[in-house]
Symmetry: C2
């Protein structure tokens, strides 16, 4: 049974859930009466919109002729709640951002929950409310969903898979294979905030200033950027694997090299300190509210100016440029003026970061 | 990192996976080099298509003006392999069927994997190959995906979330709220095969004839049905919760009653025997390749005839009719000529059946 409302003024066959004291049981995944209760009282109540209210196993919507994008991600972040967000807001932001990186206006999300038996219903409610708020803020509707329950010890509270679709404006044509030698590389803000917020929380590290995840929807920032420069070459969000991996992906896809300058990379002092303590390189740490933009050098100043006027792009800077390089190497000029290779992430730096 | 290809004739920074002897490690979910290997050698190889080959974090495609449907499901079935299918084919069939039940021509799927550390790569490969085959057979492309890895004991081998989108032909307008008193209720074939195949396998029950899951794509059957009767009122597949729950959902949504006749319900003898042994009621057992169709009584014979000509509808029969009933009760005339209420599934009959 999907997330659909089954209400009736005539007969209401569903008892109320005890959200305050109750826990997820296997029966909530049965497809029967208990599943319907869960859907009615949690998902339908908080995700409420006209498409979800169709109450079918699929949501129907009209589209104009044009181009759409589709993207999906599972979220297994641990812990479920962290400074600056939780698995629910992260699942919305992450999927919305992958739509935005395709130049799309996010439209609709689907969400599928894998719940572990024993999860407190009030924890699930908190996550659902957080998702609903994040979706509203990002201007997307959660239009269909699904819930499964697995036995204790076969999950870890909640896993969420969210899939999004968005509409691409006709002037937009972003792709990772369009970087050209001479192009500018812009980063929208500070590096490593999400990964270090999670790790500090896990390791119980205390800093004078709390490190907060940057998890946020980038859709509005991208819309502002497209308005001034529709012809951006590519956008990508440096999530798992961090900036280093994202740049290597783009270099590989476009068959170009890249040179970035360490002194242009915005890194917060407390993030830098935590990285040192944890033995992590901020170039490889996940971000959840940042983007890399590759553009014609003549468009760079215009983009930088509009990005800096946006709350999520205040610290945007040009961090380097694209080079002709058949080896697709990414290099960095260090603070000391030397050069080092910036390779793909080759180990597991931070498990279950998103 | 999403399921995208990162190949280059210039530089191939990815070593080969040892699929024969290797296991899933946390590093395969890192977003770095090991993730890229997994994507390249497993997902990209087997799901290969032009949209996946765009290699971005989202897949871009053109649409005509019209109506689309979107649906999502997670699959947590245990065991991963069962007579008649596996979690991979099930994830494709289940999502394709939810599109087809909306009257849609299935177009694209996304798939998100949550892998447990330690899973044998050859098991994962087998599942991926099965998904690829099921997608080809159903005429859909798997165009984007994601992989996460959780620690041992935080998952159960593989969980898959698949999301589909499909295009609804202009003459089609199915919805669960359109059943009208007097309408015919058609069932496409035998009840309980999927649930009982899983349970027999779990419980190690032996029968003279092996019970095989009915897991199959219903998209072609639905296309044949729409061709003769575009004005079907509603279709739904009786999965978790079985026929009883599906009929109650539709009755509730349309605010009508239903009467079905036990002597018209096709149930295989070995399924019936297994149900008796396991203490299960076949009305509540999950199906994964069956549909319930509600239609104008004048269309019923025409639909039945076209369904019976299709391999997946050979045993189709009219099982009852829709009644005016403000209580939205579903009733069954039993083999003995009495009447019993057919209520929603109220407990957990079969955990992790899909």
């Amino acid at each position: 049974m999907k997330h659909k409302s089954i209400t009736s003024t005539i007969r209401t066959p569903f008892n109320r859930l005890d959200i305050k004291n109750g826990r997820v049981e296997l029966v909530h995944g049965s497809g029967g009466r208990a599943s319907a209760q869960l859907i009615e009282m949690l998902f339908k109540t908080h995700f409420d919109n006209d498409l979800l209210a169709q109450n079918n196993d699929q949501a129907l919507f009209a589209v104009d002729a044009g181009r759409l994008v589709m993207t999906t991600d599972s979220y297994v972040v641990s812990p479920l709640f962290f400074p600056g967000g939780d698995i629910g807001s992260l699942a919305v932001h992450g999927t919305v951002n992958d739509l935005a990186m395709g130049g799309a206006v996010p439209l609709y999300l689907s969400v599928a929950f894998i719940l572990e038996e024993g999860l407190a219903l009030k924890v699930l409610e908190k996550i659902v409310i957080s998702m609903a708020r994040a979706a509203t803020e990002a201007g997307v509707k959660i239009i269909t969903g699904d819930t499964k329950v697995v036995e204790r010890g076969k999950g870890d509270g909640v896993y969420i898979s969210s899939t999004g679709i968005g509409r691409v404006p006709s002037a937009v044509n972003f792709s990772g294979d369009q970087a050209q030698p001479g192009d500018a590389i812009i980063l929208s803000g500070s590096l490593g905030d999400h990964g270090i917020a999670i790790m500090s929380h896990r390791e119980n590290l205390q800093f004078e200033t709390q490190i907060v995840s940057d998890s946020a929807s980038l859709a509005d920032l991208v819309a502002c950027m497209i308005e001034v420069v529709p012809g951006i070459r590519c956008l990508r969000d440096p999530t798992r694997g961090g900036l280093a991996t994202t740049l290597n992906e783009l270099a590989q896809q476009s068959r170009v090299g890249m040179l970035i300058h360490e002194n242009t990379l915005p890194i917060k002092p407390q993030v830098s300190a935590a990285c040192e303590l944890l033995g992590l390189d901020p170039l490889y740490v996940a971000n959840e509210g940042k983007l890399v933009c590759i553009c014609d050098p003549n468009d760079a100043r215009k983009l930088l100016s509009v990005m800096r006027q946006h709350p999520l792009g205040q610290d945007a800077s040009i961090i380097g440029r694209v080079l002709a390089d058949e080896h697709a190497f990414v290099q960095m000029e260090t603070l000391l003026g030397g050069y080092r290779m910036v390779d793909w992430l080759s180990g597991e730096q931070l498990p279950r970061i998103c």
